[in-house]
């Protein structure tokens, strides 16, 4: 038997029912895709007394885009993001990131919301959501709450979620200024792997930049110092070099089973250069298509 520990299983039909179950069974876990939770149950990293399966709640499905506001429901999988016409048309950076996550069978189940709730440092979705200034919508026994992503991640596997709450969706407001982006993920090999380092960059037509690194610190790092150095300047060799020299001040990679900190630091500089150049080219309508491997 793969899972030794025992727990009750519930499948509520509405958010109200789910919140009520979470309050009733105080030590409970929310189950969506299960690619994180079931693994943790096997390894006994978590020991919930009840598992609340939210896949029966239809209002948590769906990707909507109304009035420049993108809403990604808690049950949206990475495969859903890849197939979505809304994402392809307005948020190709999100699609590029989704395609880099794990493999097909995992993408068919794993959810973006689950990814940010796991808050493991090697998350792929975090840098992208960070540069889009996403907001996380939660509901609990005390009602609804909204947290900006800059305040969501508190540490390795720690978020600002309160005990009896659950995330219902992520919202992003499409930036008004014309922009293009690039997501680069470094793995040990092509194919499914956890990121040794990843980053997301957005380049705007008015010479504004947004940059975030993942897997090189306990939480995703929005590189504000580098953004300050870049903002207002057209992209050219000297500017990229200035930004690269600031990278060690922003990130703090560690040595682990997947890579050494020196390698990660070195590769981040290279990835940043390739990503920002690709994003700038895409802004002009040229450059590598979204999804092309750049590293």
């Amino acid at each position: 038997m793969a899972i030794v520990q025992e727990f009750k299983y519930f499948k509520p039909k509405s958010i109200k029912e789910a919140v009520s179950l979470l309050s009733q069974h105080k030590n409970s876990a929310v189950l969506a895709g299960g690619t994180d939770l079931v693994c943790n149950l096997k390894d006994e990293i978590v020991s919930p007394k009840a598992v609340v399966d939210i896949k029966g709640i239809s209002s948590l499905n769906g990707i909507t885009f109304k009035g420049k506001r993108l809403k990604i429901g808690a049950l949206v999988t990475f495969s859903d993001l890849i197939k979505s016409e809304i994402i392809k048309g307005h948020f190709p950076l999100i699609g590029e990131m989704a395609r880099a996550v794990a493999s097909v069978a995992i993408r068919n189940r794993a959810t973006v919301v689950g990814n940010i709730c796991s808050a493991v440092p090697c998350m792929d979705s975090a840098p992208v959501l960070s540069v889009y200034d996403a907001e996380i919508n939660l509901i609990g026994p005390e009602g609804e709450r909204r947290i900006p992503i800059s305040q969501w991640f508190k540490g390795n596997r720690k978020t600002s979620i309160k005990k009896l709450e659950m995330v219902t969706s992520i919202t992003i407001i499409l930036p008004a200024q014309t922009h293009a982006g690039c997501f680069v993920k470094l793995g040990r090999y092509a194919g499914e792997d956890l990121a040794q380092a990843n980053l997301a960059v957005l380049v705007f037509s008015n010479h504004q930049y947004r940059l975030a690194f993942g897997s090189v610190a306990a939480v995703p790092i929005r590189a504000k110092r580098i953004e300050k150095a870049l903002n207002g300047n057209p992209l050219e060799k000297k500017l990229i070099k200035t930004a690269q020299e600031l990278i060690p001040q922003e990130i703090s990679p560690i040595t682990d089973i997947r890579a050494s900190k020196e390698y990660r630091m070195h590769m981040c500089k290279i990835m940043f250069e390739r990503a920002v150049k690709a994003a700038a080219e895409r802004l002009e309508g040229a450059g590598p298509g979204y999804g092309t491997a750049l590293i």
Partner: protein, 181 residues
């Protein structure tokens, strides 16, 4: 409800009884397995892989890593491939599961014939997962490039073949299928 314990000895006895004869809640699930309706009682902590192998006699999906990395447990749930080691059996209530036992009810599929021809397996452990994944890949992408085949199979690991015979089998199958149409 058993009567309350009257003294410490009785209390200890009832505790021991509870420990030895613990009641575990069973959940009855109804789902379609390889085209047939199945009803089975499962515990909440049994994975789909556990139930398929140990309660339903479907031994093609295998336990490799139990983490969703190796792909030996790959099955089809509704219209998508999934890693059955990461799915609780209770979750498939009312859904459809397909394994290669269901694919080959009338003998080997053309893709499996290609696997045989190209010697695409040695120990055979990865093969059920490879076949399910490849069949699903070709359903959504009937004419994949080499890169797309490799990306599509990236969730299935093989330690024996070095992957080349598997990729060749898939390419050959696509070519033969194209020639027939």
């Amino acid at each position: 409800m058993p009567p309350a314990a009257k003294n410490l000895f009785e209390k200890r006895f009832l505790d021991l009884q509870k420990l030895l004869f613990k009641e575990i809640k069973m959940y009855e699930i109804t789902f379609t397995l390889n085209g047939e309706k199945r009803i089975v009682g499962v515990q909440s902590n049994e994975t789909l892989l556990d139930v398929l192998r140990y309660k339903l006699g479907i031994t093609s999906p295998k336990s490799g890593c139990e983490r969703g990395d190796c792909g030996t447990c790959t099955v089809k749930l509704n219209s998508q491939i999934v890693k059955s080691c990461l799915i609780l059996a209770v979750e498939v209530n009312g859904q459809e599961v397909l394994t290669i036992e269901g694919l080959m009810k009338e003998g080997f599929t053309p893709l499996q014939e290609a696997f045989l021809e190209h010697n695409s397996f040695q120990c055979g452990y990865c093969t059920p997962g490879m076949v399910i994944t490849a069949e699903a890949l070709l359903e959504t992408n009937p004419n994949p490039t080499d890169e797309e085949i490799k990306e599509g199979l990236s969730g299935n690991l093989c330690r024996c073949t070095g992957y080349i015979p598997i990729i060749e089998a898939i390419k050959d199958h696509v070519k033969k299928r194209g020639a027939e149409q």
